[in-house]
């Protein structure tokens, strides 16, 4: 492999030019810029963290910049890293998306920083490069992927929390006889189509414990793998039974949350971080909601697929890495966690060991915490076990979930998608 050296040298030269320009306007304090996605939660959290931090640190100015979210945001993050224009700190996913940033070449290794001792090892493993470098501090709470449901609907119909997929579909059948939509789809926000599939990964691991390693090594043909085919089939089952809300193809994330909160829909496959958005828009309805994991084949092996929080990284192009580390130290402290809870509520466990959760967490969050107490009842999502996540997954799942193609051909298509990515990453076994 060849490196684009000119790119690096030039950006270095650029950085020098920029810093010499900064000398002209000398400040008493250092400015540290942080780039976050523009979701209201992230913006609120980082503005609150900024305010709390600056109260105790006169000499460091934090400056929060925003970027688009979604795949657009991935693109911005990559381009800015590649061109050496990333601000000091940025908030971004952990797991496979981090791997695509080539962390050892673009980010500053934090493994020797004292504050990393407070960051839980399970989190460190998803922000590391596998070669000893650890690059991030969690910037939000951990979360589970599964099904948010309306408890009032369950009460009225006398339903029980399903522990198998069959029971889940039976509940849907019962709900479909009322005006309530059994399952909420929100393909208007394409990313939401993935949750059924991704959150089913605990079940895949029950059937095939080595799936992640074999998948990364290119030894799995998804259209022939029973376990993963079932995951692809979840959304197809729901579509074919007609359980989706009428406007599933155009509804947005906000629409689905509204329908869930108002009791117009019973189930919404989603990550638990949605609780913060629900708390903001429908604070009174949150206690009527609950959460359970995507049920699998067997009631005995019922567990939760877990998402690691997004992380704050320190770019190698930073001009003030030491000041930036002071901020990271602050975020990775109990004080930092408290600021987050005060700003957007408690949506899940913090991966910082000195941080606890308040006693009165919202109902869906406490439903999720049950799974986390027993280590055999939870497992990380695939994107935290493998660097591979094909970029077209959400479109493929929308096609399966709209009857354009079936699970098997979707799996075939996703195989190609992943292969293309693996070849770009230069992984062995995919040629």
């Amino acid at each position: 492999m060849k490196t684009t050296k000119s790119l690096r040298t030039l950006s270095a030269a650029l950085a020098v030019a920029a810093s010499s320009a900064a000398v002209g306007s000398s400040h008493d304090s250092v400015e540290v810029t942080l780039l976050t996605d523009n979701s209201p939660n992230s913006v609120a959290v980082f503005n609150a963290l900024e305010a709390a931090f600056e109260q105790t640190h006169d000499n460091i100015d934090i400056n929060v910049e925003t970027r688009a979210g979604g795949t657009e945001g991935d693109n911005i993050v990559r381009t800015r890293l590649a061109t050496g224009t990333m601000p000091d700190l940025f908030f971004y996913n952990s797991g496979s998306l981090l791997q695509a940033l080539n962390p050892s070449r673009t980010l500053i290794d934090l493994s020797d920083e004292p504050f990393m001792e407070r960051v839980s090892p399970s989190f460190q493993s998803v922000v590391s490069d596998g070669k000893g470098g650890v690059y991030g501090v969690p910037g939000e709470a951990g979360m589970g992927g599964g099904i948010l449901y309306n408890r009032k609907v369950y009460e009225e119909l006398g339903l029980e929390i399903p522990r198998t997929w069959e029971e889940f579909m039976a509940n849907n059948e019962a709900i479909s006889e009322t005006d309530v939509a059994p399952v909420l789809g929100s393909f208007g926000a394409t990313w939401t189509s993935q949750i059924f599939f991704l959150a089913d990964f605990y079940n895949v691991l029950q059937q095939d414990p080595d799936f992640a390693e074999e998948f990364t090594a290119g030894n799995i043909e998804m259209s022939e793998n029973d376990a993963i085919l079932k995951s692809f089939g979840r959304i197809q089952d729901v579509y074919e039974a007609g359980y989706f809300n009428e406007d599933f193809a155009s509804a947005t994330y906000e629409d689905a949350l509204r329908m869930l909160a108002m009791g117009e829909g019973a189930h919404y496959p989603m990550l638990t971080f949605a609780v913060t958005a629900l708390l903001e828009s429908y604070p009174d309805a949150v206690e009527d909601l609950g959460f359970f994991s995507v049920p699998g084949d067997s009631a005995d092996a019922n567990g939760l697929t877990v998402w690691m929080p997004g992380s704050i990284y320190l770019s190698q192009s930073s001009e003030e890495p030491e000041a930036a580390k002071v901020f990271l130290d602050f975020v990775a402290s109990q004080e930092g966690c408290e600021v987050i809870v005060d700003t957007i509520g408690a949506s899940g466990p913090f991966l910082i060991e000195t941080c606890g959760l308040p006693d009165d967490v919202p109902q869906p969050v406490s439903d999720m915490l049950v799974y986390l107490q027993d280590s055999s009842r939870n497992a990380p999502a695939l994107e935290f076990l493998s660097p591979l996540k094909g970029p077209s997954l959400e479109q493929i799942l929308i096609e399966i979930g709209s009857g354009i193609r079936d699970a098997e051909s979707g799996a075939e298509l996703y195989q190609r998608d992943v292969r293309r990515q693996a070849r770009q990453l230069g992984l062995d076994g995919w040629n």
Binding site: T4, G69, T252, Y253, E254, E280
Partner: protein
Amino acid sequence: MFSTRRLIISVVAFAGALVFFVVPFIFIALTAVKTKQEASLLQLTWPTETQLWQNLVAVIEARDFMMIQAFINSAIITVGSVTLIVLFSAMVGFVLNRRKTSWNKMIMFLVLSGLMIPPAIVPTIWLLQQLGIFRTLHSMVLVEVAYNISFGILLYRAFFSTIPRELDEAAIMDGAGPVTLFFKVMLPLLKPVTVTNIVVLSVIIFNDFVHPLYYLPGDDNVTIQLTLYNFQSMFNTSYNLLFMNVLVITVPMLIVFLIFNRQIVSGMTSGALKG
């Protein structure tokens, strides 16, 4: 009898224009003054509660008055690049139309290439870095000139063919050199197409979203279209503010258009293009 017909056609045309071209704008305007909850219903209804001022202030104040900075940046980029394009493309269009050489085919090919070839984003960033002008407003001006000059050239070339050569000949007989011929004789005649060019290019460049996104990263360099990102986020959407933002960033182009609109019409009706 004739005027009845005229009236009917006028009324039908007006009604059609209202439905097809005005209703979407009414929708934008109404949604922009609604509350967040009411806006999220997406209906074309009169707002039960108007908060024009509140939404406007929210949009302008957002992210430390980012909108103001964005206006300044966009204005610099737009004015700078439109000025250069108008001047340079008129020069090219002039020679291209008047002088038949073996270069013409090649130049037309390049002009059309400029319209057809999708710009190579990452190589361009790489180049701007090499030149040491990445993330500067003047590099953005140069990029916009390069991407849009083909359009200007095409329009000018087409309109030069409507200016009779007798005019050139007369000017040359009077002793005009090439520079005088172009700047003193031709440019004034081009006023109608120049107005068209200014309006269209201003709109294209002011409304450019993708290129500033890549060539001008960073909040200091934010342009007007990027402010839309403030309110269109992946996880939560405030439609009232989003549409207020659309409204606010449309106003400058509306003003440019209204200023030049009369000149476009009068320029055309004055007969400068006839014959």
